[in-house]
Symmetry: C2
Amino acid sequence: MTHGPRETTPRTPPDDRPRAYPTGDTPRPTSRDVARAAGVSQATVSLVLGDKWRGRVSQRTADTVRDTARSLGYRPNLAARNLRLGRTRTALLVVPALTNEFFARVHTGAAAVADRHGFGVVVYPSPDGTGTARDPFASAPAALDGVIASSMTAGALTALRGTDLPLVMLDSDPADPEAAAHVNLAIGDGIRQIADHLLGLGHRRYLHLASAIDTWTFGVRARSLAAALDATPGTTAHTLRVPLDVNAAREAAQQALTGPGPRPTAIVCDGDALAAGACKAARRLGLRVPDDVSITGFDDLALATALEPELTTVRLPAEQVGERGMHALLALLEGRTPTEGDLPVELVVRESTGPAPAG
Amino acid sequence: MTHGPRETTPRTPPDDRPRAYPTGDTPRPTSRDVARAAGVSQATVSLVLGDKWRGRVSQRTADTVRDTARSLGYRPNLAARNLRLGRTRTALLVVPALTNEFFARVHTGAAAVADRHGFGVVVYPSPDGTGTARDPFASAPAALDGVIASSMTAGALTALRGTDLPLVMLDSDPADPEAAAHVNLAIGDGIRQIADHLLGLGHRRYLHLASAIDTWTFGVRARSLAAALDATPGTTAHTLRVPLDVNAAREAAQQALTGPGPRPTAIVCDGDALAAGACKAARRLGLRVPDDVSITGFDDLALATALEPELTTVRLPAEQVGERGMHALLALLEGRTPTEGDLPVELVVRESTGPAPAG
DNA sequence: CCCGCGAAGTTATACGTAACACCTCGGCCG
DNA sequence: CGGCCGAGGTGTTACGTATAACTTCGCGGG
């Protein structure tokens, strides 16, 4: 059936190649080894294992090749494949920090979709507010097909620009021309839902615990809240910008609650962690939540239901952000147009908000 | 000075190679392009850019090459380099879930060390207790040099076994011969510190909220606690195994606190999230923490200080686990012996523990 | 004067895979 | 009977890099 490999003189005279790393002693079998063992050519092995043999290789031969590969424990060399194909099926995810549950969930979503499409995800922590600008491409973590980023330094962006890699941006200014695609949340809508909820409960004096980080998403929150409250006459709002940290929020809230002038009856926080800090401040001042002061979070992380009272907050579909980001990247890589449109968010009313106290 | 490239006939007649992905239109310059532009051979470019030119290339030429590379925006093709060198400078980190802050911090530590050594880290969520065994190598996320794993299914392990990749195990049975190196925490010591603390406060009736997941680390906790309490006569301990989830812990604690027989005065939890659940249960039953019941956590996550009262817990150096894991892997890859010895843990006494109530 | 040697490069190859172009052969149609 | 076609392969090349082995040249010493 097969013509048999005619004895060609092997180019590598003695087969004792040294490995760069002492990563084991068995030199992994190559597709050529499989071919030799199966009595076919390397091309045939590649065709069969690449599932491109329909009509070009007989069923019998294909089975033989597959069996031989399995029995030899053959695993294709990814570096070689990547080189040959010019793509690596690997995406870079740039996020401020995975210790932030939101971004961990984004990663989870992205990784799930990636995995389903035979892609890998490598993460690089972007030094967002800290200024410790490092270049994720200088350290060359891996060969990449594309980038999904939620927050990038200018330095990283310019470094990326030199690579021609498609870029998907998450939760950032949709007008930014740097990105080939955007995945955004209906943040403004979420804030509006919070405002409506609190206004409906009769609150008129507001404190906004905002993030000190100056990114697009936080800008939207500030503007949306201001717009929503301004629409109702008689409301006042004060804004404090703090680091995204429980204790920083606690201190800020404590000052605001004990300061001069009438006390705010509602504290709108840019994140659940900030809300936790606000709750601690209130409790320490002997104020009850929500009887004396209502507090809202944002994100709906695990923290929101671990606290007592459980937080009224806005649920962000974090996993979906990651999924959609990865889908967008895949679309770009295949020349398709990514799905547009903001992901909806949802107000979740729990225990930390209630009617404004009389007076 | 240079001999100039004599006009060799190019093997690729028309230079209009199609790209697999429409990832841009500029075909990235290769080291050969740099060589041509700089008037040297590709080998020289490789030597200079690889920093191996000392004594083999003149300073002037080296500078020229570097300038040319920069001006062309040259970036080495990682796939080709990986193929040539037989290593990829990429490690796989297998963790149950990055949404668990502990593992996110492990990743942070590992990624930091990796980055410092020019390595990348790709994460794969191991389906720990869920049974959804998938093979991280079947989906071939990336070419790998080694694996760091904190919790692997049997399936993933056997898949790994066929690869000859060095394996570093985190927080798992040090007797496991599968791993080439182990990085462990002094978990038992931490539990003992908790027990000593609570015993010193006069507690005698204990509830242990344990993880339902049956891994080595949780086994150690159970055994250590039992041993520590057994050493003091007159103590009783009841154990409830629950999913690592706030609400599951709340329900379990609620049952235990309202059940028949004398109420436990101390609840030892296998994680901060479980402790949060226990706190909620106590509060809902009108019990004060720590006056009526003392509660301890484990891990010292952000949650521990977000709660009120702040949790007495055991601080685990999660980042160090990741750092040491990556260091161990690097050591293995270089043929060195990794550092041995458990990482110390520390009891952090906060507000959720106090003297046992009288009676 | 010639040899050897170091400096400064170059040439040539191999890494393992995918895929294009070619080959061979039996059968079938005109 | 010749030509053609399709089934079932094989030979060969290129991907971009790192590096071993070789070359060339100028120079100093014996």
